[in-house]
Amino acid sequence: MPFIEGKGKKLEVNEEGFLINPEEWNTEAAELLAREEEGIQKLTEDHWKVIHYIRGYYQEKKLAPMVRKVCKNTEFQLKYIYELFPSGPAKGACKVAGLPKPDGCV
């Protein structure tokens, strides 16, 4: 399995850059995943709003939320979500929030 490293942190990710051990996820892990995997240099308040919502939903239901739920709860427009996370909600936002890769065509 590959690793990503930065700020003295070393994280194990799968072949597509999704975090292997969910217990390793924290603010720094999110920053590292964002930078190394998604090329997002700095996470803004709006990024965090999306990340925290996805993370909370996942912890409760063990599933990624549908993008409808993300928009409704963050009150962001759909297009803005894609601007925040150019790889989209799955390979962008869910990955940074430390979720495993969702099943299906993603």
Binding site: E15, P22, L63, M66, V67, R68, K72, K101, G104, C105
Partner: protein, 445 residues
């Protein structure tokens, strides 16, 4: 779920390690049952001429011998000869026949699941016309019968079986999403009466979606709804049994594939709709249009069409008014293998794009000779082969670059996802859209 995924992975390695003689017997039995006389003849016919090598995006991108289609086929061929031919049984060394043993399984899995997208391009080059993808799928089915489908692909199948769709969308969230998208549509066409019908009995068309759309990329549904609105179509979505994907196709497990495709038949019967219309999805088209009636041993009482055929028909009949200048950037087209080479929908998407964009550029090669994007055959669901999948995508990336197009249209959500990754990996700087999205942008309402 990460723990679960780790567990699945460990479990898979253990499963290979602990496979029993009776599992092997079962796999061989299933493989044998899947072979028709014709496919048995195929397995005796490979001339090992090697012409297929240059047809395969895996081989072309890396030059690795195990990626040559004839090599992949030879793995199946040796087993076939040993177990099912007289010469192979009596003089295995002479005809290179081999027992299916535990130590062969890792290579079977790596090769048949990890070096093939079931795209069928090798058959075009084959000097004797062998249907290699068909045989690889049959061998995958043998592995599937004893639990040897790589994790990710298997978990997607499990999700589809247990949750009713391949991404575990809860029914109420799907309904809420449709209502939300209907609002988007009303804003888009500026008509408070515009709607996205759900469970409308007796509508002419039942439209199905890839769960990836409502889950993460719902604008493609709005685009189709806008086209239906402009054409004045009688259509509906279904609140259940609406998933166009069928990952049982990729695993080669016909029983599972039948169960999943059977759901769309159930929806059609429940709603009494006339035609089943499939979203832009390559394997979903091949599965539901061509294979499913075989899997289900059932004659359908309705037509199965791709949305591409429907849109082409609207344009031809003058039901849509399009302004190509609204799509000013040059557009090229990715031909999904299962829709085009293996599905027979070849000209419709070209007919549409030529009328919806200012400049259309073909990739080279194209149509039935087009290369796979690299994401087919369930590859996107198997992270263990992700590196190889991206490498094999180089052929497609080079094709796209050569066109100098700024937009790649693809009538397949699976291709789109692979193309999104290629875009990033090979720095292509293109936009990737469904055909319906491009048409919706050109619509004059």
């Amino acid at each position: 779920m990460n723990e679960e995924k780790k567990y699945q992975k460990d479990f898979f390695e253990d499963r290979i390690e602990n496979i029993k003689a009776e599992d092997i017997r079962k796999a061989l039995y299933v493989f044998h049952r899947k072979l028709s006389n014709q496919s048995a003849a195929y397995l005796n016919s490979c001339l090992h001429c090697g012409l297929c090598a240059d047809s395969c995006h895996y081989y072309l991108s890396t030059g690795e011998i195990p990626s040559i289609p004839a090599y992949k086929l030879s793995l199946i061929e040796k087993i076939f000869k040993k177990h099912f031919t007289l010469l192979g049984k009596r003089a295995p060394g002479w005809v290179k026949a081999k027992d299916l043993t535990k130590d062969l399984l890792p290579e079977w899995i790596d090769s048949l699941f990890g070096r093939c997208t079931l795209c069928g391009r090798c058959s075009l080059n084959c000097s004797v016309g062998l249907n290699i993808a068909y045989l690889i799928r049959a061998a995958r089915g043998a592995l599937a019968s004893v639990g040897l489908v790589p994790p990710g692909l298997q978990s997607t199948i499990n999700t589809a079986i247990l949750k009713g769709n391949s991404m575990a969308l809860p029914r109420e969230d799907w309904i809420e999403t449709v209502e939300w998208l209907a609002e988007e549509l009303r804003a888009e066409v500026n008509d408070p009466q515009a709607e996205i019908p759900l469970d409308r009995k007796g509508a002419r068309l039942l439209y199905t979606v890839n769960p990836r759309e409502p889950m993460f990329f719902p604008l493609s549904i709005v685009a189709v709804a806008k086209i239906f609105y402009a054409a004045g179509e009688s259509w509906t979505l279904s609140s259940e049994d609406y998933d166009v994907t069928n990952y049982g196709f990729h695993s080669g497990d016909d029983n599972v594939a039948a169960l999943i495709s059977g759901r769309l038949v159930r929806s059609m019967e429940k709603l009494g709709t006339q035609d089943l219309v499939l979203a832009e999805c390559g394997h979903g088209f091949n599965s539901n249009r061509w294979e499913a009636p075989e899997w289900l041993a059932k004659k359908y009482g309705f037509d199965v069409k791709s949305i591409i055929q429907i849109v082409a028909d609207y344009i031809q009949k003058g039901r849509l008014k399009l302004d190509p200048s609204r799509n000013p950037e040059p557009v090229t087209l990715q031909d999904p293998c299962h829709l085009v080479r293996l599905g027979g929908i070849v000209e419709e998407q070209r007919y549409i794009l030529k009328r919806a964009v200012a400049r259309f550029i073909e990739m080279n090669p194209n149509r039935e000779k087009n290369f796979c994007c690299g994401g087919g055959g369930g590859q996107l669901a198997m992270p263990r082969f992700a590196k190889r999948r991206l490498e094999a995508g180089k052929i497609k990336a080079d094709q796209i670059k050569e066109t100098e197009a700024k937009v790649v249209a693809s009538p397949c959500h699976n291709c789109i996802d692979q193309l999104l990754e290629l875009n990033k990996h090979f720095d292509l700087r293109v936009k990737i859209k469904t055909v319906a999205e491009i048409v919706a942008d050109a619509l004059v309402i």
